[in-house]
Amino acid sequence: MVPLQLYLILSAMMFIIGAVGVVTRRNAIIVFMSIELMLNSVNLTFVAFSAFLGDATGQVFVFFVMTVAAAEAAVGLAIVIALFRRKQTVNLDEINIMKW
């Protein structure tokens, strides 16, 4: 029997890896992948608590998080395509037209 703490620690490690990836990487697509990593680690926390408490609500919530992630990926990648068409790059340091 794996204790709940190990699932939470695994989830925390994946979340931190994703967060550091979002902050440090400059490629827009890899930043998106890091966001997916963070969403997945939160899903793991939901499923772990759902299984350990014997309540299906957490797993239903994971289902909704997945649909939001799918919508986010579709819209986000469309934005990346539109940006690439305009500026010929996906480097986030060069996309600074709204920077004050």
């Binding site: 931190i16 697509i29 997945m66 819209v75 480097n91």
Partner: protein
């Protein structure tokens, strides 16, 4: 050590290693391959938690649909050999890694505090993760959020087409 624990450690190690490789690889297509491996490891961990439905949906939706979208966009933009994205050593990375490690240590310390009298025991309810059980909850208690989800997906599809259209005026 039971089979469940062995599988958990294998999948946990695979998930952490592939997540680290995702954020460190320079080539986006290789990062996409590693994130697919990470999704499969997570599906295995869901199976050790008896969440069969979520494990299957994880592979179908994430490793199947969403990552196909990512790989398609990477190949459409032909990003394989962008020299301008070559980011070397910088103090920003060191600071971000240090902060991340600090927050991680704090979280592990919080998780390791014994919860006093109220301990969470796994109830051995191995049937809450099946398609039948999830479907029953989804179509009774969460019927309205489920229908709103279809609206969200429609809006996302329309938005994606409008954003990626060629002549936006």
């Amino acid at each position: 050590m039971t089979l469940e624990e062995i599988l958990f450690y294998i999948f946990a190690f695979g998930g952490i290693a592939s997540a680290l490789l995702v954020v460190t690889r320079r080539n986006p297509i290789i990062a996409a391959i590693y994130i697919i491996i990470n999704f499969f490891c997570l599906a295995g961990i869901y199976l050790t938690l008896h969440a069969q439905f979520i494990a299957v949906v994880q592979i179908l939706v994430y490793a199947g649909a969403i990552m196909v979208l990512f790989v398609f966009v990477i190949m459409l933009l032909n990003l394989g050999d962008e020299r301008s994205l070559r980011d070397g050593f910088s103090w920003k990375k060191v600071v971000a890694g240090g902060f991340g490690l600090g927050v991680l240590m704090e979280l592990i310390y919080i998780f390791m505090i014994p919860s006093g009298t109220q301990t969470i025991e796994m109830t051995r309810a191995t049937d809450i993760g099946t398609v039948e059980a999830i479907g029953r909850v989804l179509f009774t208690q969460f019927l309205f959020p489920f229908e709103v989800t279809s609206l969200l997906l429609t809006a996302a599809i329309v938005g994606a087409i409008v954003l990626a259209k060629k002549n936006l005026d």
